[in-house]
Symmetry: C2
Subunit: 327 residues, 2 copies
């Protein structure tokens, strides 16, 4: 596949216009304590404050707003562990479109409850046994439109608005960013962000962060081709448990990323606690991997200006308190 299907900066700007007044322009926040620990200036972009509690609203709304009235009237279908599901459900509701979401049976209750509250229908599936494509096929056969979680130019462009805002906000603060670190599941967020960052500042390094055992993008970049994760592992980072990079996202990320850091469960829990103590933000496990990556020693922080995306905050209370208390 050629890069012809990757979105360009104009697509990201267009998405930003569509999202104006609907998506939260999440602020950049920082902590003196974390700056001192890391030896640089770290600016956090908390997409936990985004509508639906994660960045996923941006891509889903951009995609659905680009459909025809006829397509929207036939209804929307999606598969997702929860954050994309909420983004799709909220966006479909804004257009008055029916939405059916296939969600893993072990998805966090907070995420399932939110999807139901937004008026979507939830179809549970078994993450290990069922192919999600098979679960949604009957709905596609009826003419409903699939909104993919990441491997779609309109989705990537929507997520890229995180990067557009981040670069504008850093400029407003008079900060020249050396590095941007972004959580990576299927690669739509980090891919979209990298397009916006590289457009504004080609010299800024963009890093991805993945949970251990789900570091398919890291290993794919090393291998020079898309490789899938080994089966049989689990992770607290339900939002990042994709099986392999997308075709489009991999093409973007192989060009734009300086590298990807894989982080341990322990590092994720410590990052969640840091976000609570120093940023006053509730960040879900998958949303905290970019902060966790700062402690890996892999990314040069000394004297640097670094932006970190905290991509979501949809976590059940018992999981949250157990992980944060266990540090």
């Amino acid at each position: 596949m050629s890069l012809a299907s990757a979105p360009g900066i104009a697509d990201i700007r267009n998405a930003a216009q569509r999202l104006a007044g609907l998506a939260v322009r999440t602020p950049l926040v920082e902590s003196q304590a974390l700056n001192e620990r890391f030896g640089g200036t770290v600016l956090f972009k908390p997409e936990v404050l985004q509508r639906t509690g994660s960045f996923k609203f941006r891509g889903a709304y951009n995609k659905i707003s680009g459909l025809s009235d006829g397509e929207r009237a036939r209804g929307i279908v999606a598969f997702s562990s929860g954050n994309h599901a909420q983004g799709v459900a909220a966006s479909a509701a804004l257009f008055g479109a029916k939405a059916i979401i296939a969600m893993p049976a072990d998805a966090p209750q907070a995420k399932v409850g939110n999807v139901l509250r937004m008026g979507a229908e939830v179809v549970p599936f078994d993450r290990a046994r069922d192919r999600r494509e098979d679960v949604v096929q009957p709905y596609l056969d009826r003419g409903m439109v699939l909104v993919r979680p990441f491997d779609d130019p309109a989705i990537i462009a929507g997520q890229g608005t995180v990067g557009l805002e981040l670069m504008q906000q850093a400029q407003e603060l008079g900060v020249r960013l050396d590095t941007v670190v972004v959580p990576c599941g299927g690669g739509g967020l980090v891919g979209g962000v990298s397009l916006a960052v590289k457009d504004a500042s080609p010299g800024t390094a963009v890093w991805g962060a993945e949970p251990e055992h789900f570091d398919d993008t890291r290993r794919s970049l090393e291998a020079g081709k898309r490789v899938a994760n080994e089966p049989g592992y689990s992770s607290s980072c339900d939002a990042l448990m994709t099986s392999e990079p997308g075709l489009i996202t991999f093409e973007i990320n192989r060009r734009n990323l300086a590298g990807v850091v894989a982080v341990s469960e322990q590092a994720v829990a410590a990052a969640m606690r840091d976000a609570m103590a120093h940023l006053k933000l509730v960040v879900e496990p998958g949303g905290s991997v970019a902060l966790a990556a700062l402690s890996s020693g892999r990314i040069d922080l000394q004297g640097k200006s670094v932006a970190v995306v905290l991509s979501g905050g949809n976590v059940d209370f018992d999981v949250y308190s157990r992980m944060v208390a266990g540090v």
Copy 2:
């Protein structure tokens, strides 16, 4: 005392200019679940994301920036349970001024640690036994400048920038606010916010919220004169345990407030959990009283547009998890 010492809208606008690029322009965030529960549109202004973790940076910085070079060279002194202390310490550090802060011995460790990290000196005192004025007197005798926590026009004007931003942001969203609800300790925040709100929209009701047993402003408004709290009570809301309203703040609040709601410890804990689950924000007990007040039934929410200030997030983890888990 006449209202001549109350700040005007020009003072608040001037404070906003001084704070531009230094204070975080905290966003307005909302939750569909909370909107549905309350039957209206509730927009939250999370000052937990403010520099130092509470709104207090705004007033302290505005005050200290208005001092002469000579005054700043003599050093700053303040007494505070912690949030004002952090605001003063951070502001003094930005000007390279020495700061000495008298803090109650039972202040949250998170707050004491932050003050120390910002380079200020901490002088502990006994909240029940010592008069804080006596604790700081020796430093004033040496010529250091007292930065009061609330009863000072420059402090009130700085806190008022919360209201200025809130009204601008609501307008950007196309929302006409019926009601604004604000935590109240000494009354500097709610007073300053009320000045900005009433300037922009005289018909918008401004409510205060206080913890039970520390509802001195509520009882003072009823009595028509300043009355102090009964001694001997405690509260999780360390940030709001002032003994009585200020002279200037009471004059502003008796003119501008629709009323004050006193909330129970249980309502505070429930509000902290709501902020975690639905807003992804860590809010300290005192910072959550305005959200807690929404559940009191005292404020008409049905079909209304309401703004709620979440004033701070500096809480120790053990207190936080105990309160949130106990709901």
